[in-house]
Symmetry: C2
Subunit: 389 residues, 2 copies
């Protein structure tokens, strides 16, 4: 994406990271976690232990499906959230992005109808787009995916080849799908025997009580394909994600993954398993929750204080993002260039739409900036928006 | 692959690793490096330093094209071998397997003619097969790829979409392509404007003097696509490979890689860059060379001593493998079951052929077994082969 947000989607994430890497700009653009919260010393301790105790496991070729110890850790952890899965029902992937890529390859061919949310995760659009499917986008309201509209579409057009959703603390919307809608979506997918892909990177980053139950954990949700990651709860740079899927799907993904990269970094897998055993992920996640909750609250307060009445935004109960809507006709793609010059970045809404919609919207990240930067950055944005509100 | 070597290629590597993991079997089957030679303590030191000095670089999202410091290290290292490339001409990949996968996606569609060696690397067959190309296999003699036959094919059929070769210390053959053949292959690829993919994981593991010059470093070889890896010279488990390619190709690969896994593990990339700076790779590689040379020699001696006259084998000047040919009609796929029961594994030759050829051949790895195991394992094999020689 160039600075106006108009270039090909393909380069969007990469260029966003480039903008965010510019230290003089307050970065609401990236999907970054807070670097000062990385448990770097603890991870170094885990790595020292792993390399002393089991160097061959960490440095030698390993199984394509993932390190047994990590699959066990994950299965136990997922079961705490009601996701009933055996270790051999979990595939370790090179980030959850690889999970999306493999699933796209498994289910899509040119012209395949895929139901997605509007707006939706830009990395999913990229992984799915490689197979040139037909995107059927359904707008999100305060309760998430509008399942009514999906049902109507199916009545007319029949079965899609895939349904993709980020139901909990959605990226970029910050919205969470209601329990009732989840039930209906599971029912729809079951009735049509359509793979339902639940992309769930954010559930553990819940700021107002417990997160909603995953669709994979709900009655009838046994066949939901659940994709997760350690990126948001530990560190994104190590690229450790996972897929929970029915055995027949998982077998196909494992064969594909072999051709893609043989297996995911064994050192990083060992490190994560060791961290979970030695330190437990829960206390770290609790620390993240406390810090990110403050930042979310600071952003909501700043928005209420400074934004003109023509602007609305979502109220995320978790995750990393909120979604801002300007008056119709206002182009956030154009605004980005001015904003970066004024010292703040965001992602224009078009990046999250398969069809170029969302031109008057933007995604704001609240997890990677300090409270001061959040207040200051939102102030700058409000001034720029008000100038031509 | 099942124990008879007859099952789908898709699962070949995975199942081989499973066989090799069985400690009671002498493993000539895997493509494993010697675990006792991993510089585990030095790597632990590098990781401690990286996590103390630059935790955000190691744990945060990073650029798709790879860590700048590692690309610089690689460009400098490659230039020592005559491969003239700037840091931004190098793409870091999740193992060289990902390089093969991305290049297959870039150049192949269903039915694309691809010229390959027979036998060739099983992981390449797997990556390329995903696009359902037409494999045109040309058998290897003592000087490698038989370029004559390629030229003849082209005269009749025209331009292929890709030429794939492991020219130096080939896997599985152990054979090295002669300089004259390399010249002619480069010329052929240039004349036809066909991408020429030089898969080069083994050059640094040279046991009889300097390795041959890479095609990418030869006159006229500027457009050769050169794929390499740290798997054989440092550790395979960390999945760090690279692609050197013309800028226009690299840009396409980078966009694809974004959709595949966003970027390669940043912690592992930092570790490798730190290791190269702090310890230098050369002294470690020299250690590997010394140890692997002994093992290669031990295997050649054992073969000479024990094998019946009906068996022949290659004389690798480097790398990890040699290729054994039994009398015509003898099936190594059948032999494998007996061999594993008797305490030794290998890979039947059919795994390395797109068309099921090589049934009377096998690949032997000499880098992951001790000198005693090599003598003992070859002895067992010779006895089994002689029984029905």
């Amino acid at each position: 994406m160039d600075r106006t947000g108009r270039a090909p989607r393909g380069s969007a994430i990469r260029e966003l990271l480039a903008i965010t890497a510019n230290r003089s700009v307050i970065g609401f653009g990236g999907g970054l976690t807070a670097p000062e919260l990385f448990p770097a010393a603890e991870l170094a301790e885990c790595l020292a232990r792993v390399l002393a105790d089991r160097p061959a496991s960490a440095l030698q070729y390993g199984p394509t499906e993932g390190l047994a110890a990590l699959r066990e850790t994950l299965a136990a952890r997922l079961s705490q959230r009601g996701i009933d899965v055996a270790p051999d029902g979990v595939l370790i992937t090179t980030g959850s992005q690889q999970g999306l890529d493999l699933l796209a390859e498994a289910f899509l061919t040119k012209g395949s109808p895929v139901m997605i949310e509007a707006p939706t995760y830009v990395g999913a659009l990229q992984a799915l787009s490689a197979h040139e499917p037909e995107f059927k986008a359904f707008s999100v309201d305060g309760d998430g995916f509008q399942v009514d509209a999906l049902e109507e579409w199916v009545d007319v057009h029949g079965r899609p080849d895939l349904i993709y959703t980020v139901p909990t603390f959605g990226n970029p919307s910050g919205v969470t799908m209601s329990y009732r809608r989840r039930e209906r979506l599971i029912e729809l997918a079951r009735k049509l025997a359509v793979p339902l892909l639940e992309d769930d990177p954010y559930s553990e980053l819940s700021y107002d009580g417990l997160p909603p139950v995953a669709m994979r954990a709900m009655p009838g949700g046994e066949d939901v394909i659940h994709v997760g990651t350690f990126s948001k709860v530990l560190a994104p740079g190590i690229r450790i994600g996972y897929v929970v899927a029915p055995r027949v799907v998982l077998e196909r993904l494992i064969l594909m993954k072999q051709g893609r990269d043989l297996h995911t970094d064994a050192l990083a897998q060992n490190m994560v398993a060791e961290y979970c055993t030695r330190f437990g992920l829960d206390s770290h996640v609790e620390r993240l929750r406390g810090s990110y909750r403050e930042r979310r609250d600071a952003m909501l307060v700043a928005l209420r204080r400074t934004m003109p009445a023509s602007v609305s935004w979502t109220q995320p109960a978790g995750g990393m993002f909120l979604w801002l809507t300007l008056r119709a006709g206002r182009e956030t793609g154009e605004l980005l260039r001015t904003a970066v010059a004024a010292g703040v970045s965001f992602v224009p809404g078009t990046a999250f739409h398969a069809d170029g919609g969302g031109a008057n919207c933007m995604r704001l990240n609240f997890t990677s900036s300090s409270l001061e930067e959040i207040a200051q950055g939102v102030g700058i944005l409000a001034r720029l928006i008000s100038d031509k509100a």
